[in-house]
Amino acid sequence: MSQDVSLMAHLMRRAGFGATRNELEEYLSDGYKATVDKLLDPGESNHMPDDLIRRYHVDQSELRQLDGAGAYWLYRMLTTSNPLEEKLTLFWHGLFATGYAKLNQARSLLNQIEMFRQYGFGSFRDLLVELSRDPAMILWLDNNENHKEAINENYGRELLELFSMGIGNYSEDDIKDCAKAFTGWTLKNAEYMSVRASKDSIWPYGRIAWHYEYRVDDHDSSEKKFLGEVGDFNGEDIVDIIVTQEPTAKFLSTRLFQYFASDEVDDDGEQVIKAMMESYFKSGFNVSAVLRTLFNSDYFTSEKCRYSRVKGPVESVVGTARLAGSYQEPTLDVHSLWAQTMFMGQGLLAPPTVEGWHEGVEWIDSGSLVERINFAAKELSDPTKDGVQDIIRRVISGYRDFIHPENLVDSCLDFMGPIQVGADTRDGLIEFAESQGDLQLKNGKTDEDGSARVARLMGMIASTREYQLA
């Protein structure tokens, strides 16, 4: 049984933002395979509804600011019943990294995120076509400046280098003809938006977003040569060619592997990536099929795969808040929650460049580590939070008069995860717990001081090295 709990907790740390013990028990009653299927094909999600959010956040109507847009997405991550949908959307946000800095337009960014939700599980072909039509992306990579008479290669280049094939698999000429194929893929309401931007103080009806338009008069319909094929290619044709390339299958599978399985790819990992590539082609470029192969692989379910990723700041913040049961109702504090992601080095909706964030161990420096620890320790050492109370209840259940410090530590580690820790960490935690001796109970219950004490120990667990890993 406890092996099953560990495995399910591992799956949910990767395919979601962790899970409470109640959630784990529900998933366990379905079993591992059925849970994977459900995560991949979840149907409509339950989450905090827009009308409720808007009632409490007037800024959601205008969406001028980045923190409001970030707060909106955080609410979704915090309350969704489909955690993989948001986790995968966060993956696309990092891969197709579009930042607020250049756009100054939060609504367009949220529209892009919604597009990732809609197309993220399906065909990679459709996703790349939608991405190429996405107004935020068009502006971010200057495709509105890509004209029939004067091409701008920015989007064409990054589509190949950062979004699909990876460097070294195409020539500079391929980039040029790729860019030509996307001429005329532009913004519809650019003039209106620039008039509005010049009168920046006045947005009486709130901000509207840019729209996409295909302008046939600005499209270069000449013959193009792309990856060895010749034709009057338009953007869709280019994407059709890209998705059939082996480097594309490898690029996508590797990035998904690193995000969901392990920061480092070893020989066994390479084998899994091969299997993911096969699923990619067999399924007609279907992202769900690739992920199903990964989640059901022996590698993914093995002990070796556990704790082999450094949690990203957003998953760390959301995971901790979900475990503590925080932010389940609208609160203005959610804006400071967004700011936390910035303090920890992953400002949601504000990736530094089109390359996205440097992940893995590069998430960690002394400043960001202090921010992570202080946030998680504060959330989980607060005995007034619902999630913390649930854990305390489970920790003491089965005991009547007292709990020995060592058992208290092990029990907290179990119900906060289960979280596996090394010997130094466990010794440090026991030393901390022992300083106050046994935890006294009265007929199997704690008093307020006792609960606070368990919560303080939970805060210490949230500050361990192992808690930084997924």
Binding site: L66, G99, Y100, A101, K102, N104, S198, K199, D200, S201, D263, V310, A339, M342, F343, G345, A350, P352, T353, V354, H358, V361, E362, I364, D365, S366, G367, S368, L369, V370, E371, I373, N374, A377, K378, S381, G422, A423, D424, T425, D427, G428, L429, E431, F432, S435, R456, G459, M460, S463, T464, R465, E466, Q468, L469
Partner: protein, 375 residues
């Protein structure tokens, strides 16, 4: 490694400071034509000459200017000005106007001052989260929200409980290095953070001064900088910010309050340094990501281009540098002031003449330098 003992304090005015209401062209009638509502009255200006003068809310800076300690960099900016806060701030932080840069210019300064990262406190930011200006991979910079509570577990108020938690933390992170490189790295980083915090926390106890800083955030930030600087931990680059200067509406009151706070804090800081005989070892640079529109909107001003920066210190040759841009309609750049000197000229001057470092790789190119640093 640059000139020993010299340090730089950068004060960022976030949101776009209105240049025209900071150094006011009060002798130019057109100023009052364009600024029907949002202007500083002639009789309130603290004159520099017959045309230009400081806003009355910069009185402490005017006092230092009169002592010859303030270089005013007029018309500072860059080609093809960007009026997005985030992008323009990025440009100032990375010194890369033409493409999206990844390294901060001050991070590079810190790396060149302390190439082996021997001191975890060579660069200290006062505020939460790391400004991009300080970010370079492998360069440790401490980010301090509040000096008194800085470090791990600021929410544990009880001293003995906090000691217990910190001891347990040291036990968990400081154990024998194992086989897992990621856990080892986490252990090392955690211990660095603990060490940096332990050192920094002693600064307030070591400090004494006759100066009483105001209670507002920028004054408290400058006080923290003074405490850390005077504690001699080897910090060379300090960073802090204040705002929001994004005065689209209600500018007169907001702008006045913000400058009262900033100039008061900077004036107090200078006096504090003077009291301790250190005013010749530190330079303060004040900048903003852009200036604001020449014509007001009836209540405030919208985003513009062309701005002003201030360089302040005992070893600074005070005076007016750069050119005050023309506000004649024909000279406008899309309704804004034309910049006439690249901000990287100012950066280069500080990097080479103050720190004694090669500015070219730091600011991404060669830029004509000013002569505002005493030789």
């Amino acid at each position: 490694m640059g000139n020993k003992g010299k340090s730089l304090v950068v004060v960022q005015l976030s949101g776009g400071n209105d240049y025209l209401n900071t150094v006011v062209p009060y002798g130019d009638e057109e100023y009052y034509d364009f600024r029907r509502t949002v202007h500083i009255e002639q009789n309130e200006v603290l004159p520099i000459d017959k045309i230009y003068g400081f806003s009355p809310h910069l009185a402490p800076i005017k006092r230092l200017f009169d002592q010859g300690k303030v270089a005013v960099i007029n018309g500072i900016g860059y080609d093809n000005p960007n009026r997005s806060h985030f992008r323009s701030m990025d440009i100032w932080h990375t010194a890369q106007p033409d493409e999206i840069g990844t390294e901060g210019w001050l991070g590079r300064v810190i790396r060149d001052l302390d190439p082996n990262a021997e001191n975890v406190l060579t660069g200290v930011n006062f505020g939460r989260g790391l400004p991009r200006a300080l970010g370079v991979r492998g360069v440790p910079v401490a980010s301090v929200g509040n000096l008194d509570t800085y470090g791990l577990f600021p929410d544990i108020k009880d001293e003995s409980a906090k000691k217990l938690a910190l001891d347990a933390f040291a036990h968990m992170y400081g154990g024998v290095q194992g086989k897992d490189p990621v856990l080892n790295f986490l252990g090392q980083t955690g211990m660095d953070a603990l060490k940096g915090a332990d050192i920094l926390r002693t600064a307030p106890q070591k400090y004494s001064s006759a100066i009483e800083y105001a209670a507002n955030p920028i004054a408290q930030g400058m006080k923290s900088i003074a405490q850390v600087l005077l504690a001699d931990f080897g910090t060379r680059v300090f960073y802090t910010q204040h705002g929001s200067f994004d005065t689209h509406s209600g500018e007169i009151l907001t702008h006045a309050k913000l400058w009262d706070e900033v100039s008061g804090a900077v004036g107090d800081f200078y006096d504090d340094m003077q009291e301790h005989g250190r005013e010749d070892e530190v330079v303060v640079m004040i900048f903003s990501e852009f200036g604001r529109r020449i014509k007001d909107n009836g209540s405030g001003t919208d985003h513009g281009s062309g701005g002003v920066a201030f360089i302040i210190g005992g070893e600074i040759k005070g005076g007016m540098y750069g050119q005050y841009p023309s506000i004649k309609e024909a000279d406008h750049l899309e309704g804004d002031l034309h910049f006439n000197n690249d901000f990287r000229s100012t950066y280069s001057t500080i990097v080479e003449k103050w720190f004694g470092l090669d500015p070219v790789p730091i600011v991404n190119g060669h830029f004509e330098q000013f002569d505002f640093v005493n030789a």
